[in-house]
């Protein structure tokens, strides 16, 4: 751990979906943390956190992938992911993976202690009150992604940060904490059920009259954006980091302009 007066050295855990689908979220996360006084690096050796294998019952491969992640992030004060799901995997589930391997369990627990979801890191660790972002005249609604909410207690942090942006109004939906039906491979393996669940969610989103839907996890965002666009909805969908960093000039998720 660095000294209190030194700038913390933070590693960004990019997450596969940000890496592949939404690079701007990674850049937004870097900007937010740099603005808050961190030195941010992106270790090249990182891969996915292993959730697809873990939730498919492939524990052996998950442990191998987890070891790579643990090694890649060993030298940083903090590790931050713009995702509650990947954050929860590393923080909550990695230590349990190595129950029979004390050495790796110790290293997993060490990483777990340094691992944070982005908005929780900004608010709970760095104690920032708000972001310095130009006012945005927009009505938003926020979806609480399940892992971030239930594994990491992410609920108030993104809202507090959004509240600090002038002009922005948050309208809560009836069921902000209800799953959107993404569920990793669930959304493809049980596509019909998943579509039905996200249909209830988009009905709820539409009922708020918000212009913009935000969340902190790319999986949920791709799912909800996909459904909204199929329905012909004008609601735009973005990762919360993009709005916090003022990076909203790029097309929204599932849009081309």
């Amino acid at each position: 751990m660095s000294q209190i007066d030194a700038k913390p050295r933070v590693a960004l855990f990019v997450t596969c979906l940000v890496d592949l689908f939404r690079p701007s979220v990674g850049f937004a996360a870097i900007k937010l943390m740099e603005d808050a006084g961190c030195i941010v690096e992106v270790p090249e050796a990182q891969v996915c956190c292993g959730q697809p294998a873990y939730n498919s019952g492939d524990r052996k491969d998950t442990a191998a992938i987890a070891k790579q992640v643990i090694e890649a992030f060993e030298d940083y004060d903090y590790v931050v992911a713009p995702s509650g799901s990947c954050g929860g995997m590393i923080k909550d589930h990695y230590p349990a993976l190595f129950a029979a391997d004390p050495e790796w369990q110790r290293r997993a627990e060490d990483l777990s202690g340094r691992m944070h979801e982005l908005t929780s890191f900004l608010v709970d660790v760095l104690k920032i009150q708000g972001v310095q972002t130009a006012p945005q005249d927009v009505k938003i609604t926020y979806h609480d992604s399940c892992s971030g909410l239930r594994e990491l207690g992410v609920k108030g942090q993104p809202r507090q940060l959004l509240d600090s942006i002038g002009g922005l109004e948050i309208v809560e939906m009836q069921t902000p904490e209800t799953c959107c039906g993404f569920g990793g491979t669930f959304c493809v393996k049980y596509g019909e059920v998943s579509t039905d669940i996200v249909g209830r969610k988009t009905a709820d989103i539409t009922a708020t009259g918000a212009d913009l839907l935000l969340a902190g996890d790319m999986g949920c965002l791709l799912n909800m954006a996909g459904k909204l666009k199929r329905e012909g909805s004008p609601v735009q969908v973005r990762h919360v980091a993009e709005v916090l960093a003022g990076m909203t000039d790029l097309p929204a998720i599932g849009e081309s302009k």
């Binding site: 990019v14 940000v18 890496d19 592949l20 689908f21 690079p23 701007s24 990674g26 850049f27 090249e44 050796a45 891969v47 996915c48 697809p52 294998a53 939730n55 498919s56 019952g57 492939d58 491969d61 998950t62 191998a64 992938i65 399940c146 892992s147 239930r150 594994e151 209800t178 799953c179 039906g181 993404f182 569920g183 491979t185 669930f186 959304c187 493809v188 393996k189 049980y190 596509g191 019909e192 059920v193 998943s194 579509t195 039905d196 669940i197 996200v198 209830r200 791709l222 799912n223 954006a225 996909g226 459904k227 666009k229 199929r230 790029l250 097309p251 998720i253 599932g254 849009e255 081309s256």
Partner: protein, 486 residues
């Protein structure tokens, strides 16, 4: 002999359920009132969370010493003139109950609500042997008329609309005449809940008096006093167990708790978790048969104790499931259950508890879909009064299925190929670059794709958002490091 299993057809069952307009209408209660009343009544009780912890402690303690508590229960029950019947298998339980009914020359049996009698397939068995069981819980009565299994552990007919219930009653009680119900006029077939309840009550009234034997379940068995406990809202359970000359309470082994104080602790979280009531309307303790000085009650009192694989769960990853107090909160709050209803799960216990328990009871091959058909949203664990780690247990089953190669080959190979790439970062990056380049090219114009080969599960009902650009974050980041961050 047990209830017909359709769990292996979960996908087809779910698909059918999703297209059933009546089911969709009926299931709205799950997402609305059932879930929100729980939140309200829990909020009104400041010690709710502490009571949950206490409940977990009580159950964990019992499970460690279950043999002692069951023996104590038997001792106390016997001392009060009751009799305990230990049954390892559903067959033993059915035959024990049949023999008891025959000892009374029974033709007609009334039944209170009991999931374990569904588990052992009791009704069909009794009917085959010339004994007519009549369900007296309103929901159970409805599904008995409809010849369907329950779709929820506390609301067996939750999947039916009022209109469907009215139609069933019309068909089964054609001669029934509507009595005067205050505020409701007789006339064409009503779908008012109060009228329907009154109709079921009057039809059942006579049955209670004619029944030779009354069979109930048991929410709890109290070791200290030898009492069985039922928790109900209709009063039908009391009539079922106190009017006939023989009462048989059927219970699974894990229902035992040490004493009355533990009962009061658990009762405070049971109804709040289940229906969002502070307490259920009736909590009835039965302490043995009628004593000479009692004016009513059964002459004989039997407890049929069913194991059916539960003792094998002790000391394994599945043990926490034995803490379940059958409140149904996991179902009431599960997005998947909300979409497909209980019948899609294809066996007695639906929803998250079923997804975790059924593979043990009916075999992992048969039930392999259930632990997979979950988004792992964690809501079930959040609302479970007994803090059962349902998602962890479902994941444990997925691991068993992967190890035993029960997972379909394509899925297994898919995940192994992905894992191989993830363990070989250069290969992973190469694959990602190719895939992203391609998807970006295909979806660039609209920013999304409306169909995608091999991903019909996604694109049948949703668009697939295209990647933001043709290159990954990692390659953009590396490039920006060379030429300064953009």
């Amino acid at each position: 002999m047990s209830m017909q299993v359709t769990t292996q057809n979960f996908e087809a069952n779910a698909s059918k359920a999703l297209k059933d307009p009546n089911l969709r209408k009926a299931m709205q209660i799950i997402g609305g009132p059932m879930a929100s009343r729980r939140v309200e009544t829990a909020r009104e009780l400041p010690e709710f969370e502490a009571l949950r912890d206490e409940g977990v402690k009580i159950k964990n303690h019992v499970l460690k010493h279950i043999d002692l508590y069951l023996e104590k229960f038997e001792q106390q029950l016997t001392a009060r003139g009751g009799k305990l019947h230990w049954c390892r298998t559903p067959r033993e339980a059915r035959e024990t109950i049949l023999a008891l009914c025959r000892s009374r020359d029974a033709k007609l049996v009334t039944k209170g609500k009991s999931m374990v009698t569904e588990e052992i397939g009791l009704n069909a068995f009794l009917e085959e042997h010339g004994i007519t069981p009549v369900e007296t819980d309103l929901g159970e009565y409805i599904i008995q008329l409809a010849q369907e299994p329950p779709s929820h552990i506390i609301g067996p007919a939750l999947h039916k609309t009022r209109e469907q219930v009215a139609e069933l009653f019309e068909e089964h009680h054609p001669d029934y005449e509507l009595p005067n119900v205050p505020g409701i006029k007789a006339g064409p077939r009503s779908t008012e809940p109060q009228v329907l309840v009154t109709e079921a009550r009057s039809v059942l009234r006579d049955t209670y008096f004619r029944a030779d034997v009354g069979i109930t379940g048991a929410n709890f068995l109290i070791a200290e006093t030898g009492a069985t406990v039922i928790v109900t809202n209709e009063g039908n359970g009391d009539l079922t167990q106190s009017l006939p000359r023989m009462h048989i309470a059927v219970s699974s082994i894990e229902k035992v708790i040490p004493n009355l104080e533990d009962l009061s602790t658990i009762l405070r979280i049971l109804a709040r978790s289940a229906t969002g009531q502070e307490m259920s309307c009736y909590t009835t303790l039965s302490c043995g048969p009628k004593r000479p000085e009692d004016i009513d009650g059964p002459e004989e009192f039997h407890v049929v104790l069913v194991d059916n694989g539960r003792s094998e769960m002790l000391g394994t990853a599945l043990e926490p499931l034995l803490r379940c107090i059958r409140c149904g909160a996991c179902m009431n709050n599960c997005p998947v259950y909300h979409s497909v209803g209980g019948h899609a799960y294809g066996w007695v216990y639906p929803g998250p508890i079923g997804a975790a328990l059924d593979p043990h009871m009916i075999g992992l091959e048969t039930a392999r879909h259930l632990p997979n058909a979950s988004t792992f949203c964690g809501k079930c664990e959040e609302v479970c009064p007994m803090r059962i780690p349902l998602p962890d247990i479902m994941r444990w089953w997925r691991e068993q299925a992967h190890e035993k190669r029960i997972t379909p080959p394509l899925q297994r190979w898919g995940i192994e190929a992905w894992a191989f790439a993830a363990k070989t970062p250069w290969l992973y990056r190469l694959g990602a670059r190719v895939a992203i380049g391609l998807l970006n090219m295909l979806g660039k114009d609209k920013g999304r794709l409306s169909s995608l080969p091999l991903a019909g599960g996604w694109t049948d009902g949703r668009d697939f958002p295209a990647p933001q650009s043709a290159s990954t974050f990692m390659s953009q980041y590396k490039a920006s490091k060379k030429g300064g961050l953009k």
